[in-house]
Point group: C2
Chain length 358, copies 2
């Protein structure tokens, strides 16, 4: 039996409900494929703030470091929105990314045939969309120094952040972009703002230089404003997108929303070595928390990404992906993806159906 230590960060809002489903499903697939998972809960986000005053206590970060992979559900909520920034749930997420060196964020935006009508875009525009956004996650304007709110000579306040990338940072995320594209349709689009920003000019130069090592990948470049337009106009033109932290934040969310069902989208955050973090794209939905209404499928697909990218267990990952397709085939839908003629279920019942599908 292969044994894996998994840290669970269930977080806030609907987090614990959807995490429970993912854990059940992981246990079931583990039994089938002779994998065992040693789950350990740790606190992060609002629950951690309430318990310890900090969004990511050192103990939680250490638990993550000591594990083979981290499964995260969702964090945040109105309750913590007005705390000073260093005490907010999101700050815990940024500290987790930095603490584990998770420089590569993989965000698929795939549209399932079952859910095409949920999209705000026309069927013919989104049918078959399958985009992977590779976002740099530990650099750029999120972490650049200097930063802060300073007083100028005239006595007025000035807010400052720094968007910076060094060559080695660009190269390592660039390589993830090329490698990802290679395993997909072989087309990589690098997004920057090189017509205005120096940091983007360096980005473009390095990505262009890397292309020599990946002759099988077709590289193109787009300015970020144009990329946002093209995502709306004709998303099927994209295969893999590689970009910096801020542009990736914006574009991956826009790409996710093209599908119309962000309750279905997982993500993976990976470092050079050590455990990765796997989490749904959606938020903690405090308004429906504790009511058994949440959609657990993105959490289950995040567990599938964990098996594939974090633990190198592609067979188990495939089973989870198939189970999700199966329950959709059967017509089961949580409220967020409900449509006429389908069977409405809650979070727990969706979990039961997944187990049945497995």
């Amino acid at each position: 039996t292969q044994n894996y230590r998994i840290t669970l960060l269930s977080g806030d809002g609907i987090g614990p409900e959807i995490m429970a489903v993912a854990v059940d499903v992981l246990k079931a697939v583990g039994k089938q494929l002779d994998l065992s998972f040693e789950f350990k809960e740790a606190l992060m986000g609002g629950v951690a703030i309430d318990a310890t005053g900090e969004p990511l206590p050192e103990e939680s970060l250490q638990a993550c470091r000591d594990s083979d992979a981290v499964l995260l559900a969702a964090i945040g909520g109105y309750k913590w929105d007005n705390l000073p920034r260093h005490q907010r749930p999101e700050t815990g997420l940024l500290a987790l990314r930095a603490g584990l060196g998770l420089f590569a964020n993989l965000r698929p935006a795939t549209i399932l045939p079952h859910l095409i009508d949920a999209s705000s875009l026309k069927r013919e525009v989104v049918e078959g969309v399958d985009i992977m956004v590779v976002r740099e996650l530990t650099g750029g304007i999120y972490f650049g120094q200097p930063r802060g709110i300073f007083e100028t000579e005239t006595g007025e306040k000035r807010g400052v952040n720094t968007m910076a990338y060094g060559e080695s940072e660009i190269d390592r995320i660039g390589r993830v972009g090329f490698e990802t594209a290679k395993k997909r349709q072989g087309r990589l689009c690098s997004v920057d703002k090189a017509n205005v920003l120096d940091v983007s000019q360096l980005w473009r130069d390095r990505i262009t230089a890397l292309a020599a090592d990946y002759p099988e990948v077709e590289l193109s470049h787009l300015y970020v404003d144009n990329a946002a337009m093209q995502l709306v106009r004709w998303p099927k033109q994209f295969d893999t997108i590689v970009t910096g932290n801020l542009f990736g934040d914006i574009l991956s969310d826009a790409a996710a929303m093209l599908t119309g069902s962000i309750g279905m989208l997982p993500s993976a955050s990976l470092g050079a070595s050590g455990p990765g973090v796997f989490e749904p794209v959606h938020g903690s939905a405090p308004d429906i928390a504790g009511q058994d209404k949440a959609n657990p499928l993105a959490q289950v697909l995040s567990a599938a990404m964990m098996l594939r990218y974090g633990l190198d267990e592609p067979a188990a990952s495939d089973r989870l992906d198939s189970a999700v397709l199966q329950v959709l085939d059967w017509g089961y839908r949580t409220g967020d993806i409900m449509s006429e003629g389908m069977k409405a279920v809650g979070c727990r019942e969706m979990g039961d159906m997944l187990l049945k599908a497995l």
Copy 2:
């Protein structure tokens, strides 16, 4: 007779063709309303680089300064794409914005009933969309210092740009946002990334403080990633958006593309005093330049914005807006907005029809 001095920057690609139509239309409306326009051509963009080596020669900037308003068509093209940045057409545009102090960029994204089917979004999602993006245009990461590509101690290169806003910069664009919303539906959405960026935290604090002066305006805040999502999901929720330079660049282009017909969208760039610059959102389309295929309507609508926001001649502006609706009602379409059953026309013929409509 009221006399206005207008500087024309026809630029590159299809620029001269669409500018010719706008000038004819302005002359015609001038005759009707007893306005006279003194047009003066100046060089900017690729044509300026070819003639003088610089994208915005001092003489052109001075001509703009000496006029009541500047009408710009489009600049850029493959030919100049590989020049060093300080010699590129876009650099001329940035220099024009800075040189004239054009801190407020107004970008409407309106969908005309005639062209709804051109959108990649479903009819019910885009029908009636009418968004005004108010983008800060002379600050933020576009102009922040320090910037450049520097060598670090380890000998690697590092690209750096600075996103900075002072309180007074935020206040003056914020007020344009509130004033604009007040004249529209009274809803202002401020977009930032205050959960991560200090500069956005200051932005949010100031915009929130300004709200006290505009009790008739309903203010909301969105993070930029969520704003990109919401634009795709349900654009009708937006009335007026106010945001910084980079976020405005991305979101105004995404909003424009929701309409499916960026050949129809104008923009205005305004300073505290002095001439504004009015230009279409679309580019110079070098591939169809000189073939009488271009759509001149965004240029004509830009002239209408010039009359309204630059010269305070709302009656003349209304006539231009009506003429554009009229030619669409008649069924005339250039190639970019052509659809079944409509009458295909070239750039010049569209101009003739506009004159007839006037």
